[in-house]
Amino acid sequence: MINPRILKALLRKEVALMRRNPIIPKIVLLMPVMVMLVIPLVANLDVKSVNVAVVDNDRSQLSCRVISDMEHSDILTIMSVSGSHNEAMQYVENGTADVLLTIPVNYEKQVSDGDAAIDIEANGVNAIKGMLGARYVSQSVMETLVSWQRENGILIRYPESSVINRYNPTLNFRNYMIPALMVVLLIIICGFLPALNLVSEKESGTIEAMNVTPVSRLTFVLSKLIPFWIIALLVVTVGMIVGRLVYGLAPVGSIGAIYLATILFGLVMSGLGVLIANRSSTMLQSIFVMFAFIMIFQLMSGLFTPIRSMPQWAQYFTYAIPPRYFIEIIRSVYLKGTTIIELWQQYAALAGFATAILLLAALTYKKQS
């Protein structure tokens, strides 16, 4: 089935063609570097500044204290303090304020009585900013209340809760993004390049010269996949180097665990590329089909939004999406230092997908029509 001598000759051909291609070597090296340098800086979900409009109906010592404490915080900025809700609402509507805080009449008295409520309204257009902004405001109010009550000798009714974010202590979005970006790069590079490579052989007619030789289908398909293992390892290596040098984020777990997962996932993606190319007669077709897969892979694999927040049926569906397992492995190894043995299920799933896709790619590759 696999003739090592022929495979070697075919691989030599692939490497020579790739090296002499005017674009591919540059993409393979530059794209990971550029993506890793730029995207973590721009694609950022951290909320670092929240603008607040305050409606102060109480005008007491306490309400002034709440407002001034907020003004002293690094994140919160008071845009206006007014007496009417409508006036404050305008700031939210024209986008100057993200959160609206209403302090009710007799607030100070209610707090002393131990029965106080404060209204926080968040602008939900930017869901993440609204949600986090509301949390920052309520936290700030809570801190003010706690110290005010302590100073005035009132029984503390507001339990203090403290949250520690494990594995990503500062909740830095970059730590979440950097492993995800490497996955995105692998999906794109290892998915598109083999598909385009094979279809371009169809378009130029060289594939026919191969189909009329006695080369076995498995040997030929392997010669299309193996170069992309190497490229996948290269991409991940570049990603890890940039992550370490520029953002100071090194994998907590072993690099071997990352490489093993990369080899399996690279095979899955490039196998899928060959599978699609087998069914396409033009580059246009293969690109469109690949895009459909990549959309689903990026949006449903837990790359940007957690799988647990998807509807139940979608959660079941994610088991059929190979990048799901790769993302779990990369994130756990990178941020938590999980070992291969602990992640054996994910590795086994990837290996299963890789074998199935390789066989399918070889079987759907037709030398005769």
Binding site: L17, G205, E208, A209, P214, K367
Partner: protein, 249 residues
């Protein structure tokens, strides 16, 4: 059907349909070992389709045949080990050098490195391409590319070589040279199955068949055909035989 060792190709009622369109319509013929067999026909007559079935690139819809002793319906991969094929479309790797292309195909056909270097030295001398060994194929002129494609298709000394319009777009002098290569291969015992548009080339063949609308309308030696149709050149023969063609341009 393959009772005789003198027969290289033998087909009976070979048919290929694409949907309702009958590209090749029940053709039957034999090609003798060592023969130069010309496969003529207008554009769209079905020559390339027929040839692709003979090479194991395309499944016949119906009909039987043997190529180099292998059944075209069941032993396509066996055929591929015994033949060489030069496509109508230039199909070497433009970004590989002349030698890299040769070595690649020779290795795929199972030749050892030692054998490849022996054969290629002679080959470059014969083709007068010694100075082009390390030139990228896309940088050499068309005529030379065709000669290289022929050399690649025959480097493993196949029993039969299939040439699909090998001299398309090539000047008369290079065509002449190309036919010298074909004669040489034939004199070495190789069977040559060649399609062409150039009717003067038909005169160089031992026997020719003329395909019209998927069928073989005439098949004999050029001399006999000319006598039969009372013509002085193959060009005239072709015009008479193909005058009722409905397909093609």
């Amino acid at each position: 059907m393959n009772e005789s060792n003198d027969i290289a190709i033998s087909v009976r009622n070979l048919t290929k349909m694409f949907g309702a369109f009958i590209a090749v319509d029940h053709i039957s013929f034999d090609v003798k070992r060592g023969e130069i067999f010309g496969f003529l026909g207008a554009n769209g007559a079905g020559k390339t389709t027929a040839m692709r079935m003979l090479c194991g690139l395309s499944y016949p819809t119906s009909g039987d045949g043997f190529v180099a002793g292998c059944d075209i319906n069941t032993q396509a991969e066996g055929i591929k080990r015994r033949i060489g094929y030069m496509s109508q479309k230039f199909s070497l790797y433009g970004d590989l050098t002349v030698m890299e292309n040769l070595r690649l195909f020779a290795t795929v056909y199972g030749m050892s490195d030692k054998k490849i270097s022996e054969v290629s030295t002679d080959l470059f001398k014969n083709l007068e391409m010694e100075n082009m060994r390390d030139t990228l194929v896309k940088d050499i002129p068309v005529g030379w590319r065709q000669k290289l494609a022929f050399a690649t298709a025959t480097i493993h000394s196949p029993e039969i070589v299939f040439l699909d319009e090998p001299t398309g777009g090539v000047d008369p002098i290079t065509r002449r040279r190309f036919w010298e290569l074909i004669y040489k291969a034939s004199s070495d015992g190789m069977t040559v199955f060649v399609t062409t548009h150039y009717l003067d080339e038909a005169e160089y063949c031992n026997r020719v068949s003329i395909m019209v609308d998927g069928r073989i309308s005439a098949l004999d030696t050029p001399q006999t055909l000319k006598k039969k149709y009372n013509a002085t050149t193959m060009d005239e023969v072709f015009r008479i035989v193909a005058k009722d063609a409905k397909r093609g341009d």
